[in-house]
Structures are given as C-alpha cells and as structure tokens.
C-alpha cells in the first residue's frame, strides 16, 4: 500500500462525514457480502441490481416531493423485492425479464419525475454514482439498527439459509419453509441496498453484493469459509476504496468497486495457479 494511503488513515477520523461513511459503509458491506453469497449461488445476483434501480426511482420521487428519502425508499424497495421474488417463482415472466422490466420502469419514473420537478441536478448525479456527503447522523443510526437486524437474522438462520440455497426442493421436503427464507433474503437485500445506495450509487451498489462472494468462491470451498472470506474481502475493499477516494479525490463508489475488481482478479489468478500446481 502506498505511504500516502497509510498516512491518510488517521486523517479519516478527523472528518465527521468520513467517520459516518466509514460506519455506514462497513456495516452495509458486511450485510451485502454475507447476503451476497446466497444470492449469487441461487442465481439471484441481478435482484440487487434491479432493486437499486427501484431505489433510485423512489429516491427521485421522494426528493421531488420533498419527502424523507429513506422513509419512502425502504418500503418501496422492500415491496419491489417481494414482487420480484413472486414474479420469478410463479409469474409467467421469467426472473431476469421481470428484473429488467421493473428496473427500467423504476428508472424511467425517477427520471420523468425529476425532469418535471427539480430538473437533473447534482442530487440526481449523487443518486446514480453515490456520495459520502449525502449521509446524515440519522442515516448512521438507522444503518446501525438495520444492519444489526440483517446480521442477527442471518446468523440465527444461517443453517436454514444454507439448506435453502443448496437444495430448495430437499429443504421444502423436510419441512423447512423455503418460501419464507427466500422472502427474508430478498427483503434483507432490499434493506441493505437502500442503506448503501446513497453512498455507493444506484449503478454501483449491486457490486457490494456480487463481487465479494464471487472472489471468495475462487479460493474457498466451504459455505462457511466463503461467507467469512466474502465478509473480510468486502470490509477490506471498502476501507481501501474509501482511502483511495479520500487521498486522490476520486469518486467513492467507483473506488470501492475497483478495489473489489482488483481482489476478484487476484483471487482468480491465485486459483488458476493452485489448479496448475495440482495438475
């Protein structure tokens, strides 16, 4: 790590907005990465992307009408998560098409409402690409509470989430309410997306769900170790991205995604090397 990045660490704590970004970001990264393992394995990765677009639409409408952003976004995105799950399970529209349909519609509603009210301004740019300046003290409190809910539920139902992810048919046959756990996963993902969206941006937040899980799967072969490794990768990439963003005045969301991309490529190379050595 370059010296200037190391030197930046103590300075992070001198700015209130950066401390807020650090707390919210670490919690959101932890939640997104743990939920991400199941979502990626169940081929639900794009749900995160779809929900972030719904989040953008709801934030845009809330801003246009001067409503509290999170109070509007949380129920709307959670409802969208529920709807997406139902559509992909029972609907005549297949999962990927349902996600594309809902995300494009939400994006269009957001852009339409903004253009007819406040106009395309910095706020909209922040929603799309994220801004750590957008976080308030209330956001931090809400993030801590909701992240704790996500993490406690994940820990309590860890074995059941594993069973439903590995073999939903078997889980149902042995009396595990798979539908309940699928819904819980989707709703917790919705919460995580809304919490992290203003910091990471609607276009980049899904990377926090997908990248750590994929990276850890290159090297880890147990569900437990994949989950732990994904959480560690996510936390480290968040700190690295924030430091880069702070030191080089780069966009925070993009810096965090690039840190994740670097880890993904490194882990891929390491797994190839291990495979080559074995053969």
């Amino acid at each position: 790590m370059p010296m200037e990045l190391l030197e930046a660490i103590p300075r992070l704590f001198t700015y209130t907005f950066l401390v807020r970004a650090l707390i919210v970001g670490l919690l959101v990264s932890l939640c997104a990465s743990t939920l991400g393992v199941s979502l990626v394995l169940k081929r639900f990765s794009m749900i995160g992307d779809g929900l972030s677009h719904v989040g953008f639409g709801s934030l845009a409408v809330a801003t246009a009408f001067n409503w509290a952003p999170l109070a509007v976004s949380i129920p709307v995105v959670m409802f969208a998560a529920f709807l997406l799950l139902r559509l992909s399970e029972r609907g005549k529209i297949k999962g990927d098409a349902a996600i594309a349909l809902i995300s494009a519609s939400a994006l269009a509603i957001g852009v339409f409402v903004i253009s007819k009210t406040t106009g395309m301004n910095t706020d909209v740019d922040n929603y799309l690409f994220g801004s750590i300046l957008a976080l308030t003290h209330e956001d931090v409190v809400l993030s801590v509470v909701l992240s704790l809910v996500v993490l406690v539920l994940f820990a309590l139902f860890y074995h059941r989430i594993f069973a439903v992810t590995f073999d939903e048919n078997y889980a149902r046959a042995t009396g595990i309410p798979a539908g309940f756990y699928n819904t819980m996963l989707a709703l917790l993902t919705a919460l995580t997306i809304v919490l992290g969206m203003r910091m990471m941006g609607a276009l980049l937040i899904s990377s926090l769900v997908i990248f750590p899980a994929l990276s850890s799967m290159w090297l880890c072969k147990r569900f437990f170790s994949v989950t732990i490794c994904a959480a560690v990768i996510s936390l480290m990439c968040y700190v690295a991205g924030l430091l880069v963003s702070f030191t080089y005045q780069a966009p925070t969301g993009a810096s965090i995604v690039l840190a994740n991309l670097t880890v993904f490529i490194t882990f891929y190379a390491a797994s190839r090397l291990i495979t080559l050595r074995k053969t």
Binding site: F157, D167, Y170, T174, K221
Partner: protein, 257 residues
C-alpha cells in the same frame, strides 16, 4: 399387498396443475421393506407422485394415506440433482448435516447428536473419509452418496422409507451399479423401504420388488415378475434393450418365462 398395513397407500390418486389433470388413477402401496420403482416417460407424473408421497402436494383426486406411526422424519428424500449443486462451495459435512435441519427446531446450531448422526450416515455408506472434502470436487457418484447420507441422517432411529427421484441421472454405468448395490444394501440390511423414480427400466426390474408405470395415468402396478410378463413391461423392456438385452440376456422382445 395388504394396503391396510402399508407405510404409504394411494387410492385413485390424481394431481392437477393449473386446472389440468397431470396424472390420475394411481392406486399403489409401499409396505415396510418394499422396493418400488416408478417408471414412465418425462412428464408422465412420476415426480408429481413423489411430491404427493412426501406430503408436499395434496392430491386433487383420491387419497394418500400414511401409516399412523410414520413421522415425516422417517421419510428420507433424495431429489434430482440440479446444476447449482454440482459446483456448490460446501463441505460434505455441511451438506450431510443439513439433513438434520428438520429436527433442529428453532435452535441456531447443530447439537452433538446431530454431528454423530451425520458421522454414522457417512460411515454406513462407507464415505467417512470424505467428511471434510469439498462437495464440488467429488465425482457424480460420490456426490449422490453424500446426498444419500444427508437423507439417512434425517432420522434418529433409522429411516423407514427412502424416496429417490432419478438418482442415477448423469452417472456412468459402473457408478450406477455401485449406487444400485448401495441402495439395495440399505433396503435389505437396514430394512428401509425404497421408492425410486427412474428411466432405467432394465436395471430397475432387476432390483425392485414392485413396479409402477405411469403415463399420465397408471398403466401398471404389481410385482417385478408380473411386470416382465405384462404387455406394458415387455414393451418398455424391449424399447430399453433395443436388441439383445445386456441385463437379461434375452433377444429383443422376448418375455422371460
């Protein structure tokens, strides 16, 4: 077959999907220690019946009765493998232990008894040494054995019924024979009744005590011996052999006397 002593008995059972009758007229039974193979074309209602036997699907017609002493944990289930599972990052122990979840209640962690049951199941199938191995790195046959161990460890005092949905899919002939031997051993030595959905009529008839043929409705139910002599059985065996049968050694179309 005495239906009043059966573990599972179906009487005129039928299932509907979106208002349309998927399969109907099924009257069959599974007794203690039985070995029933269900055969039929794709979409003939085999897996639907299995879901009914597992209590996951209510019949739209007729009735499925379960022995009063039969608990849901007495029924082990090996579903068809899906694409997600084959490369899934999980250890064998994690997979086998998940068979105990039905007994875990609201507890967030497995107990010592659960771990012991998982160990016993692996031992019974002769794969104890794979406990720490990665599921994704096992061969198809080993993966099926692990899933079989998961089904076995669901019950504390031994399974009564093992329901297998196309367990031989994707396995090479040598591994298939090993799996059949393994399932037959569970049936004969442990006294577990086996219900197996399969496309492999030739091999199924060698091991099964009873055969059930479905094709949107029940075409045959009876002993394996009667199946070989029935017109439907002879047709299915002839289609499967496509010449001199490698299993029974008889020329195409011959019915064993």
């Amino acid at each position: 077959m005495k239906h009043e002593t059966s573990l599972i008995a179906c009487k005129d059972v039928g299932f509907r999907y979106e208002g349309q009758l998927a399969v109907s007229g099924i009257t069959c039974a599974v007794d203690a220690g039985d070995y029933l193979c269900i055969v039929g074309e794709n979409g003939s209602g085999k897996s639907t019946l299995v879901r009914g036997m597992l209590g996951l699907l209510k019949p739209s017609e007729g009735v499925i009765t379960f022995d009063a002493a039969l608990r849901s944990s007495d029924i082990g289930y090996l579903p068809q493998q899906n694409a997600i599972q084959r490369g899934f990052p999980a250890s064998v122990q994690e997979v086998v232990l998940s068979g105990r979840l039905g007994r875990l209640g609201l507890l967030p962690l497995y107990t010592r008894a659960d771990r012991a049951a998982a160990h016993e199941a692996l031992k019974l199938l002769g794969i104890s040494e794979l406990a720490k191995a990665s599921f994704s790195e096992l061969s198809g046959g080993q993966q099926q054995r692990v899933l079989l161990a998961r089904a076995l460890c669901a019950a504390d005092d031994g399974l009564k019924i093992l329901i297998l949905d196309e367990p031989m899919n994707g396995l090479d002939p040598h591994v298939k024979q090993e799996m059949y031997a393994c399932i037959t051993s569970l049936n004969e030595k442990q006294g577990i009744a086996v219900v197996m959905v399969t496309h492999d009529v030739q091999t199924a008839v060698k091991f099964a005590r009873h055969m059930l043929v479905l094709n949107g409705r029940q075409e045959f139910f009876g002993t394996a011996h009667d199946f070989e002599h029935a017109a439907v059985g002879a047709d299915l065996l002839r289609d499967a052999c496509g010449g001199t049968c490698a299993v029974c050694g008889l020329p195409k179309g011959t019915v064993r006397q």
